[in-house]
Symmetry: C2
Subunit: 219 residues, 2 copies
């Protein structure tokens, strides 16, 4: 059973890499939003720079998976697990990219001030961080309940997103002179909504592994 | 050499499915943009409905790949080819989703008229369709030149996107009463720019397979 044990160790190593990647994506979102709130261009630049680490880690995971498949030739559930890891690491990379997008919008906003309310955007960010933790752990621990919770939280994010959209466009109609920065806020709203969608994809991959069939957690 | 031949046939079958999926994604983009230009809500609804076919095809490809890996246990270049197919089919599914997003924006715009110029948006759509054809064929035919062309076309799309952004926000400042529909145009601009990015990812997967190393065609 040496092979089985070495496979088990490789899976553990793969999962550790995924956890690191998820932590980095959460830092990206948190720091980008902090930079956005504080109009901190330095911090925004740091988020953009550090995204390279996530990109490199995704490539590393891809190579690791190809090596693992060639070496162990996994079948059935093991194979589905590895393909799940491949898909999830690609989703996490995209989530970190949304942090980069928020950071870029922050830089575009620069020092311009606006009185528009951004509470809904902050809620979306907070919920997304919780969703990512739950989504990854539903995959790692095979916990279908966590995957379902992610689906419910995605609905909450969608509601906050509609609210943010109304608030920002309503404000824009009264303040066309603030168009440039308000458009950036609309984009940030979009990035956060998409972040939650990609996390929902992670939970769907987890549910697929657990239940052995495709789940649509958006419906 | 029965195994090798059966593997070769399976790969051909997989590639046919990818071509079908790519054709459907192109139809999604073309029809969505046609609906947008003509304010044709019926056609927009059709785009949204037909996306299910693309989603089902992605699931079918996923299952086919898992079956193929379990059956043939491919290694080295064969394995990289199959993982490339898995990644590319996921990108094509997302590209079709951008067609859906444009269709949804079209429905939100409804009958409201605007005099803002949308030439740059149409250019972006036209170039994206060419990019997708080149990107897929660079993978299927192992043609690195096509992959590099995709990278260059992506730069063109980015330029048109900046132009569209300036045109629309400039117009918005003068016409705040058109905020709702102009915001939808800004989102369509974003969807098209992202479409081109995802197609660039396809070309990068192709280049990875051809050259055996990661390429960043965005830089």
């Amino acid at each position: 059973m040496v092979t089985r044990e070495s496979f088990h160790n490789s899976i553990k190593e793969l999962e550790e890499k995924m956890k690191t990647m998820s932590d980095l994506a959460i830092s990206s979102l948190e720091n980008a939003f902090e930079a956005f709130k504080a109009k901190d261009v330095e911090l925004a630049l740091k988020v953009i720079e550090e995204d390279e680490v996530v990109d490199d880690l995704e490539i590393e995971i891809n190579h690791f998976i190809i090596w693992l498949m060639a070496k162990e030739q996994p079948v059935a559930r093991d194979l589905r697990r590895i393909i799940g890891a491949l898909k999830i690491s690609s989703e996490i990379e995209r989530i970190a990219d949304f942090g980069v997008n928020i950071a870029k919008s922050t830089i575009k906003i620069g020092n311009s001030h606006s009185l528009v309310n951004i509470t809904s955007l902050e809620k979306m960010k907070d919920i997304s961080v919780i969703m990512l933790q739950k989504g990854l752990h539903s995959f790692l621990d095979g916990d279908i309940k966590l995957a379902e919770e992610v689906g419910k939280l995605d609905d909450e994010v969608d509601d906050y997103s509609s609210e943010a959209y109304k608030t920002i466009t309503g404000y824009l109609k009264e303040h066309p002179e603030e168009t440039d920065q308000l458009v950036q806020l609309l984009l940030i709203n979009r990035y956060l909504e998409r972040t939650a969608d990609h996390i929902t994809n992670i939970a769907e991959s987890a549910a697929y592994l657990i239940k052995g069939q495709m789940y649509d957690l958006n419906s």
